[in-house]
């Protein structure tokens, strides 16, 4: 007799569902995948009614039993929110801070430490890491896909390091596109408005049983915003993008091949430091970014319920702007083996190798002794999900073991305990360790951050954060507690509280000044040190309420309190700044209403507390959408974003003349599907 077909594939992409221990034919993986050689059409109705579901496309139900703070933004959520980019979609999730800096740049973070390149957040698109090792952050301007083809975005608040590895410190964002089988036929979406001036997406999918494919192309032209008092922000943004995906599905094997290519042009205003008067000039900077990637993922299911999967990708990125000219190639190979299941254990282990090399051209602003730099990462993980008492108590133990070129071995374990009461309620608790490894910038590069004009000193002072080979990883020990409850068929709540203890946070320590020239000036080197410790605590709460079959409401609230203890200003620059760069209170309220068979209405209200570091006041943002099905194949949508304000800055010094104010956006979108 054949063994139970449970382990079709946990998908090497390690969706958040891995915490569940159910095997992850979680959607997005070739969704025709299923286990072993069970043909569902050969099963009796008795067997079918008894079969356990291992994936779901519409709700976050498979995540209900995960012992972690997980939220899922579905395809329908994305489409019905009217957003046109990934970072804007992230506003829908509780506890995620999204602040738009200008047309093409966002600050996105979870549980604090927000910045343009927030470094404690790991972002993956279909299993491909898009966290840039040079700055330790995500360039949101090049993270884009055909929005209509996103299956879901899974957001893990809290450390995911035991599975995903270093830099999954405060959270993981997993963007998962649909399988080719789910994007059959043609789709053309055309939108235009005052901010998203032109936005065109076209996709076509075809195939037959066992093999499906799609191709897509996307173009957009987004308007520049205005600065607070310096006129046009020079941030008009144009991007061309295309890609493909092929999914093969055989009885024991699934294979996915996919790739993307893009070219982006945007800009900003940049204060370029000078060693002579006026010591800084505002330049209209052009940002040119290109990239291409190709990824393959193979899963084989063995008859004994075990499975093996391997994923490999090559990712090329190039970025050219005033301070930076960098071309990077990354190769990543990830393997995973799901051991045969027993009644009590679901054991999974994996090995990973990553090689990344970049060619950095020195500029007057960023330079290094080296122009080429390569890094290797060797990594392994093991996780066991132990059922202590069936359908009641589950203990998950796991750890990631990394070796990187900068800090050597890093061990990132976690332990999670969960108690469940059927599908009505569950309580979980977790303790984890995670690290943020140094960026290449911190270890290898020197940056001219600015020049202080002569005044107190007779000479100009060039402030230069400098290569700091002694800088070590930042460390987090996190304690989390969660409670989920399904009060009725229509009401559910999810609560997660956390206490994060940080040690060795990056600190800009002042070093001994030197003289340099010509022209004669003082160099004030800044060393990256690990001298700041502290904690963050808070909670996130969500409420989902289905008032009627066509009417859904959801509400969320999150509280964040960060206390840091770093060197005084005589020894370091703003060591405790992160206390004030993220909002203390965040809240969201959302309503989805299917008025009738033709009309649907959506409203999203977001409250963001003030950002003390930037003197940005608290704000309330309202987004609205009305959808009208003109025919069976054509839908027309009217979308308004930030409708309550003409314009206001979301991030950056609220008194700074070059700070960009984000305008109200009005958009008309026409989508044709066949």
């Amino acid at each position: 007799m054949k063994h139970p077909p449970i382990s079709a594939s946990r998908r090497i992409r390690r969706t958040a569902g891995v915490f569940l221990g159910v095997s992850g034919v979680l959607i997005g993986a070739p969704s025709l995948a299923r286990a072993d050689d069970v043909d569902p059409f050969a099963l009796s109705p008795e067997q079918l009614f008894d079969a356990k579901v291992i994936s779901a496309t519409r709700t976050s139900e498979p995540l209900w039993n995960s012992p972690a703070a997980i939220f899922v933004i579905s395809n329908e959520d994305i489409v019905r929110s009217g957003v046109t980019s990934i970072p804007e979609a992230l506003r829908l999730a509780p506890g995620v801070e999204v602040a738009r800096i200008n047309s093409s740049s966002w600050a996105v973070s979870i549980r604090g430490f927000n910045a343009a390149l927030a470094n404690k957040l790991l972002v993956l698109i279909d299993g491909r890491e898009v966290y840039d090792p040079l700055f330790s952050g995500v360039y949101w301007d090049v993270q884009d896909v055909a929005i209509e083809d996103i299956d879901r975005i899974e957001i893990v608040r809290g450390p995911g390091a035991s599975l995903w590895g270093a830099n999954a410190v405060n959270g993981v964002i997993n963007i998962i596109t649909k399988s080719a089988a789910d994007t059959q036929g043609a789709l053309v979406s055309v939108a235009g408005g005052n901010v998203d001036q032109a936005l065109v997406t076209a996709r076509y999918g075809g195939g037959r049983a066992g093999m499906h494919w799609r191709i897509y192309g996307r173009y957009f032209d987004r308007a520049s915003y205005d600065t607070l008092s310096m006129g046009d922000a020079n941030s008009a943004w144009e991007q061309r993008r295309g890609g493909f995906r092929i999914d093969f599905d055989r009885t024991h094997d699934t294979l996915t091949l996919q790739g993307d290519i893009y070219d982006s042009d945007s800009g900003e205003l940049r204060a370029v430091p000078l060693l002579v008067a006026p010591y800084a000039e505002i330049a209209r900077e052009h940002i040119s970014a290109q990239g291409a990637n190709v990824l393959g993922r193979w899963t084989h299911a063995f008859a004994d319920t075990s499975s093996f999967s391997a994923q490999a990708y090559v990712d090329y990125t190039a970025r050219n702007q005033i301070p930076l000219d960098d071309k990077r190639t990354t190769f990543d190979l990830d393997t995973q083996y799901d051991f045969p299941r027993t009644d009590h254990h679901a054991l999974v282990a994996g090995l990973r190798y990553r090689y990344t090399r970049d060619a950095l051209e020195a500029t007057p602003i960023i330079f290094s002794d080296r122009t080429s730099n390569s890094e290797e990462l060797y990594s392994g993980f093991v996780q066991d999900r132990i059922t202590l008492q069936p359908e009641r108590w589950v203990l998950t133990l796991g750890s990631k073991f990394d070796h990187n070129d900068f800090t050597g071995f890093e061990i990132q374990p976690n332990v999670r305990l969960q108690w469940m009461d059927g599908e009505t309620q569950s309580v979980w608790a977790a303790a984890s360790r995670a690290v943020r490894t140094p960026s290449e910038l911190e270890r290898d590069l020197t940056v001219v951050a600015g020049v202080i004009p002569p005044g107190m000193l007779p000479l100009p002072v060039s402030v230069q954060p400098t290569a700091s080979p002694d800088f070590e990883s930042e460390e987090l020990i996190a304690y989390e507690l969660g409670y989920r409850r399904r009060w009725s068929d229509s009401i559910s709540t999810d609560l997660a509280a956390f206490y994060n203890r940080y040690e060795g946070l990056a600190t800009l320590s002042l070093a001994a000044p030197t003289l340099d020239g010509p022209p004669l000036h003082v160099v004030l080197p800044i060393a990256y040190t690990n001298l700041t410790d502290g904690y963050a605590q808070g909670f996130e709460a969500t409420l989902d309420w289905r008032l009627a079959p066509g009417f859904m409401m959801s509400a969320n609230y999150s509280l964040l309190d960060i206390e840091l203890d770093g060197p005084p200003s005589s020894a370091a620059i703003d060591a405790e700044a992160a206390e004030d760069t993220a909002p203390r209170n965040l809240a969201g309220l959302r309503a989805q209403w299917d008025v009738n068979e033709l009309w649907s209405l959506d409203a999203m209200l977001y409250y963001t507390d003030n950002l003390r570091a930037f003197r940005i006041p608290a704000s309330t943002r309202l987004d609205l959408r009305a959808g009208w099905r003109m025919t069976d194949t054509i839908e027309l949508e009217l979308i308004g974003q930030n409708v309550l304000d003409d314009s206001r800055p979301e991030f950056g010094d609220a008194a700074g003349p070059a700070t960009v104010a984000i305008d109200r956006s009005l958009l008309v979108r026409l989508t044709w599907r066949q």
Binding site: M1, L32, P40, E46, L48, K52, V53, A209, G422, D594
Partner: protein
């Protein structure tokens, strides 16, 4: 209240203990969509349609993200020696030629239109949106305790001159589902 009276909602929710011994041992796990696709096939096997019958059994999927890819393996199988044909439909006018019509949950706003179009045509209607069986649909998929269950609107089935076989109905009954 009228709605409540006219609706016979039966919930099939079989626990492992009630399953066949083989199934209990195997602890079958499948993707939700595969279970639903295979159940549709079983609905064809255990439902009787009034004569005259077409030469083919036509399974239609209505929805813009068609379920068709998962139904594909069904094509080529037969029901009472009649081959199954799987179609993707997007126009309400096309649904009357279907033997079974599956309506994707994302298309729930189109249901009133489809329902009016079908009137009492002998088309077995199935969907997975909440409230389908309460609004004139015949079989609604639900998800209970991580398993797929169905709600059957018996009056709607009878009004279309269809007869759902005892084997399916017994499954509903043995689960303790409500029948009035």
């Amino acid at each position: 209240m009228k709605l409540a009276r006219t609706l016979c909602v039966a919930v099939a929710m079989l626990m492992a203990a009630r399953a066949t011994p083989a199934a209990a041992e195997q602890d079958i796990r499948l993707a939700e969509q595969d279970i639903k696709a295979a159940l549709l096939y079983n609905f064809l096997l255990y439902t009787e349609w009034p004569p005259p019958q077409q030469s083919h059994v036509i399974v239609c999927a209505y929805g813009r993200d068609p379920f068709v890819a998962r139904l594909a393996p069904m094509a080529g199988r037969t029901v009472n020696e009649r081959p199954i044909e799987v179609r993707s439909v997007s126009a309400a006018a096309d649904v009357n030629g279907c033997t079974l019509l599956f309506i994707n949950a994302s298309e729930r706003t189109h249901w009133p239109e489809l329902r009016a179009q079908l009137d009492r045509a002998s088309v077995l209607t199935v969907s997975d949106f909440e409230g389908f069986a309460a609004n004139g649909g015949m079989i609604e998929f639900a998800r209970i305790n991580n398993r797929i269950a169905v709600r059957i609107n018996a009056p709607a089935v009878a009004a279309a001159n269809l007869v759902i076989g005892d084997r399916l109905l017994r499954l509903v009954a043995s689960s303790g589902g409500e029948r009035r």
